[in-house]
């Protein structure tokens, strides 16, 4: 059958027909018009993760980031309230903050000197005389988004009438609680991140954190670089794990069931790769119970929690995605440490993160290469589909949704059904 080169652009097709129960249309990766609609109907229309509370720990701490393509500043005010403000002066639109993070008393526009408080209120305008009575400062605060948090995760939304965050997260909340146990008794702290970009659509990245199937193939060189015990632990594709659709596009992939609850099985033998760390902690004077608890958390949780549309709690780190254009995506892999925890254990966490993540890691570059090739291949065959049917026959209904085996594409199906709902309602 010849490809009809005069087929209408996907945007003029029915968006609902582009996602089916077992597949998604290739145009979801390639059509700029669909990307534009996603920015409005998804990123400006649901809860989007912006920060972990540890990134804005004290009054005046801020972080600049994006909701969709719109630059925002996340900042804690003196009353400890976290605000998410559009990074745009109300006068003539210049950004008021260019640093990635820092601490400040106010945000001052560099162009004409308008200054804003930590809550976004317009405090001062140089030489106000010329405005006479025609400028009411109360009408021009930095535009603020709705903000709510759960388990230390801060989310923002452009929609004033959006459902409460707790309802949006639903059954994902208990997995967030489990994930935070990797603090080992200390608060979790984001201690830096690897940032990288790849030339591909954001949904390719969204799929990846709920894709167990790729792990032994793409990460062969990583698996060759770890000890045998770790390699066996990561050989999970035929194991007892599962992927569960948690509703609203969220899903969890449990790769290592014995590492779901890090406060259980504390009597289990210390894995060989952490034996040296355990010894070091004992030498520092920590009692055996504490040593066990910390060592058990160092490698992170045994699951990836995918929260639609832009954040995953992935084993030992946060994976954040930022859509840049239809064929460009920025990824941040934020490392997690124990705030106030033993330095030796935190160093172990940093070294584990560097081993897999980032542009020089043993894992990320191979993922990135695979995603680039998806985007490149998706330029061919504009009548073809992306298959999402793996694990369908074995899927079962659960209390929270539905679940398939550990390499089932259940989590991707969940995300694309949510995509369809938001894009067509």
């Amino acid at each position: 059958m010849a490809i009809d080169l005069k087929a209408p652009p996907a945007a003029s097709r029915d968006l609902a027909d582009l996602v089916r129960a077992d597949r998604a249309h290739t145009s979801l990766y390639t059509d700029p018009a669909i990307f534009e609609q996603e920015m409005d109907r998804i990123f400006a229309n649901c809860w989007v993760w912006v920060a972990h509370v540890s990134e804005v720990k004290e009054a005046g701490d801020y972080k600049s980031t994006y909701v969709g393509r719109q630059p925002v500043v996340v900042v804690r005010d003196r009353k400890q309230k976290i605000h998410v403000l559009l990074n745009r002066c109300r006068h003539r639109a210049a950004t008021v903050c260019e640093e990635k993070k820092g601490r400040t008393n106010s945000f001052v526009c560099p162009y004409h000197g308008w200054s804003y408080g930590l809550d976004g209120s317009l405090r001062g305008v140089p030489h106000p005389e010329s405005y006479g009575q025609c400028l009411d400062k109360g009408e021009y605060p930095l535009k603020s988004l709705r903000v709510e948090e759960y388990a230390g995760m801060v989310f923002a939304s452009f929609r004033e009438d959006i459902e409460p965050l707790a309802d949006w997260l639903g059954p994902a909340k208990k997995w967030m609680d489990l994930f935070m146990k990797q603090g080992g008794g200390y608060p979790i702290k984001v201690a830096g991140e690897h940032r990288f970009r790849f030339p591909g659509n954001w949904k390719i990245q969204l799929e990846n954190t709920t894709d167990g199937y790729h792990f032994p193939v793409v990460h062969k060189s990583f698996l060759s670089s770890v000890d045998e015990q770790t390699e066996r632990m990561l050989d999970f594709v035929n194991g007892p794990g599962f992927v569960e659709d948690l509703g609203n596009g969220h899903s969890v992939m449990v790769m290592i069931p014995e590492l779901v609850d890090l406060e259980e099985n504390l009597d289990a033998p210390v894995p060989a790769r952490f034996a040296e760390l355990a010894e070091e902690l004992r030498r520092e004077g920590h009692d055996e119970a504490k040593v066990r608890r910390i060592v058990r958390t160092v490698g992170g949780s045994g699951f990836n929690l995918n929260l639609f549309p832009n954040i995953a709690c992935s084993m030992a780190f946060f994976r954040v995605l930022r859509p840049v254009s239809v064929n460009e995506t920025e990824i941040h892999h934020a490392v997690i440490t124990m705030d106030g925890g033993p330095a030796a254990a935190n160093r172990a966490r940093l070294r584990l993160h560097e081993h897999f993540q980032g542009p020089m890691g043993f894992g990320t570059p191979d993922d990135s290469e695979a995603w680039e090739r998806v985007q490149k291949g998706a330029q061919a065959g504009n009548d073809l589909w992306i298959l999402l049917n793996r694990g369908l026959p074995g899927e079962r209904i659960t209390e929270d949704g539905r679940a398939g085996d550990v390499s089932a594409e259940t989590g991707m199906r969940a995300a694309y059904q949510q995509w369809k709902k938001l894009m067509t309602e």
């Binding site: 990288f196 970009r197 330095a343 570059p365």
Partner: protein, 158 residues
């Protein structure tokens, strides 16, 4: 200014740069002291690098694993391998205590892989341990000028 030392150091570091561009990794590994550290930091100001997140923080074990990954044929992002050419210049001796020479240099590296040519510019600080009539690498800290930016994969040794 000790131009003889500068010449000796320059000759050693140019040889190291040439080994990396020509993927003579086993020879490169053999140039290190047993406790040597190869570090590519993210934070341009940080000095407590062991307690920071870096792009690479390699002891001898991790250096050997990195070389195995780059040459083992199991990693899709290193097949095909990047071709690199680097030039090293602006050598300045920062310290010399008789046992160890600390030297800082500018590195310009161009990389080509598949359809893309990329630039990486870095300020590199080496600690060179005197060994016989030559040197061994005790530390190499590669500070990319764009370390805080979102980078693409780096499938070779900077």
């Amino acid at each position: 200014m000790n131009t003889q030392l500068l010449t000796e150091v320059g000759a050693f570091l140019w040889q190291e740069a040439d080994m990396l561009d020509h993927r003579e990794y086993q020879d490169w590994l053999a140039q290190w002291t047993a406790d040597g550290l190869y570090i590519v930091p993210i934070d341009p100001e940080a000095t407590d690098l062991a307690d920071r997140l870096n792009y690479a923080y390699d002891d001898a074990d991790m250096r050997a694993k990195r070389v195995a990954r780059l040459t083992g044929g199991e990693s899709v992002s290193t097949q095909p391998a990047s071709r690199t050419v680097r030039s090293l210049s602006r050598f300045r001796i920062l310290a010399d205590d008789g046992a160890t020479v600390t030297v800082r240099a500018a590195q310009h590296l161009r990389e080509f892989r598949k359809e893309t040519l990329r630039d990486y510019t870095a300020d590199v600080t080496y600690e060179l341990a005197r060994s016989g009539d030559g040197f061994r690498l005790k530390s190499k800290i590669v500070r990319l000028v764009n370390s805080t930016d979102a980078l693409h994969s780096i499938g070779y040794i900077l």
